[in-house]
Assembly symmetry: C2
Homo-oligomer: 210 residues x 2
């Protein structure tokens, strides 16, 4: 959100970065109950008073940490919907399983049950990540690859839902191969003969070995 034009005292920026880094590490290692101002102060080597100068309370810090930990997830852009969505979901799954993003997200789930602000961020962080997915799916609709009357929101949940479920609830290992197969299984029955409908989209170039 913050534009690069903002003049921020480099000292503030440094403190803030140190604090957030420490907060994320703590959330990963000790979870939500471990996120205390004192612990963050000790770990970040930033004085407790300084932390209070940046964040009003624990919730605010938690939210900032969550935002800071949210990674970018690239959406490939070829003319093959399946290929693109597979790439996106594999990347998402990877972030969930092998980065601090997964752990930090877990700490926010409980908090979101009671904190309105955390809930917004939690949904928002996810929404932002999935917006690219939404757009890609709609694009496919316009290109005729997907039926126009398809509920994109529902499809979105069907695509990413299982990834979150397996990461946080059933706690099953989920390989990239599994994700790829899953996405294909979900999308395949929705595909239409795109080659005909596109008209201006130029034939299929994709494939890319599933």
């Amino acid at each position: 959100m913050s534009t690069a034009t903002e003049h921020e005292d480099p000292r503030r920026a440094r403190s803030r970065a140190s604090v957030l880094e420490a907060a994320i590490a703590i959330l990963r290692e000790s979870g939500q109950p471990g996120l205390t101002i004192e612990a963050v102060a000790a770990r970040s080597r930033v004085a407790k008073t300084t932390i209070y100068r940046h964040f009003a309370d624990r919730d605010e810090l938690h939210i900032a940490a969550l935002q800071a930990a949210a990674p970018e997830i690239r959406m490939p852009r070829t003319d093959d919907v399946v290929h693109d969505v597979v790439g996106f979901c594999v990347a998402l799954n990877d972030k969930l399983q092998h980065t601090e993003f997964g752990s930090v997200l877990a700490t926010a789930i409980d908090g979101a049950e009671r904190s309105e602000s955390l809930a917004e961020i939690l949904a928002g962080v996810g929404a932002e990540r999935r917006r690219a997915l939404d757009e890609r799916l709609r694009l496919a609709q316009q290109a005729g690859a997907l039926a126009a009357d398809l509920d994109v929101g529902m499809l979105n949940s069907q695509l990413v839902g299982p990834l979150f479920f397996r990461r946080f609830i059933s706690r099953q290992a989920t390989s990239s191969a599994f994700v790829a197969e899953h996405v294909q299984m979900v999308l395949s029955p929705r595909l239409q003969e795109a080659t005909i409908a596109t008209a201006a989209g130029g034939g299929e170039r994709s494939r890319s070995t599933r």
Copy 2:
């Protein structure tokens, strides 16, 4: 696990029940950080010392509360797979959204990241609920309604994953109608002409569209 044959002092049973009830209420209202022995003692009107006589520490109490809050979810048994799975998923979604089970589950997600025992229970509680689903899907396979080479585990994740995702991550309202449509959307492409395919492997039943 506990057979009815066990002779348990009714006083112990009563204390335990009161404590668990209070713990669940606290988890719902204040989340994992609110679950302190003292809070449970105050709310349940059971002496703190007595709670320690039942549960070694907070984690043990948390686990017991999670198990106590896990509801039964009925799997209808008709010869229509889609109908049955819709019924199951609608019931599951309802428990997730309108009972304390949802809240308590949320408190366990973060804890499971670090507590081996909580993780087991979390996955176990879910697994037990989904076992009926697994069985029903396999039954459909045997009846020829679903392809025999279908990955039941994957299908399971695809069916229930979105429900959990929408409840805990994206926090979208999810009506029974939505769930029904979702299940139909997922299952329909997998259905086969049961009457024909049963024969004993019949010619091409494959599908797979890769």
